[in-house]
Amino acid sequence: MMSKIVRTQANFLYPLILIFGFYIVMHGHLTPGGGFQGGAVIATGIALVVVAYGYEKIKRWIKKTHLTAAEGIGLLCFIITAFIGIGTSFFYNFLANSGLIFGESIPYGINPGYLNTAGTLPIMNLAVGIEVLGGLGAIILYMMAYGREVSE
């Protein structure tokens, strides 16, 4: 556990990192970013909380099984979203320009960008974001948990 200043600042900064990571994930088709980057940002937030509070307190709030479950769920969602378009081909973007959710079309050329476009890409971004968040956070927690100094 680090000093009180660091803990207070971690309390304040962790929601900010969460919100910014979600922004990066959901705007992956408009601005630089996407599933990998947003997931890595949120996993670094988990690493911040772990180092500020110490593993002994953190293991009641963030469990490793939840993170690995999030990883599996993200991978499963990704594969299912890829399988829905199997009528044409694997990874077919069936929602683009269809008018449904995320289905608006955009003009050709330079434009300011709209959130409600790009078909299945935001859904896949979300799935991959959940997967990378779970994976990297689980790596940090596993490496903090095991291999401690055991009293022989």
């Binding site: 408009l30 601005t31 630089p32 996407g34 990998f36 890595a40 050329g109 330079i110 434009n111 300011p112 960008g113 990378v132 994976g135 990297l136 790596i139 596993y142 490496m143 095991y146 291999g147």
Partner: protein, 114 residues
């Protein structure tokens, strides 16, 4: 003007990484060398797709439509995440070896087993 300097940098960094992987006997140093080689390959891929005067391949508020090549960037993106996963796995193996043998030196660890 700037000729081939990024490629030369890639070559030098790869040679440093190979030196660390071959001649150093500490296992964490070997992992550091592997990380250096992987970063150099990423730099090689991205600098291969650079076009002089191009902008990033994103149409949102772009200043022009003369863009750099997007495919190497996409491949590099997957390569980075794979790199951090393999680095974590190798470091966890380092922890295991240290716990079983009491050392990170490759020769000593190999000699202790026999």
């Amino acid at each position: 003007m700037i000729f081939n300097l990024p490629f030369i940098t890639v070559v030098i960094v790869i040679m440093f990484g190979l030196y660390a992987m071959v001649f150093r006997r500490n296992l964490i140093k070997v992992v550091i060398g592997l990380d250096l080689v992987e970063s150099a390959v990423n730099l090689f891929l991205v600098s291969l797709g650079y076009v002089k005067g191009g902008v990033a391949p994103i149409y949102t508020n772009a200043p022009s439509t003369d863009m750099v090549l997007p495919t190497p960037q996409a491949l590099t993106l997957t390569s980075i995440v794979i790199g951090v996963a393999t680095t974590a796995m190798l470091l966890s193996f380092c922890i295991l070896i240290y716990r079983y043998y009491g050392t990170l030196d490759t020769r000593k660890a190999r000699r202790l087993r026999e």
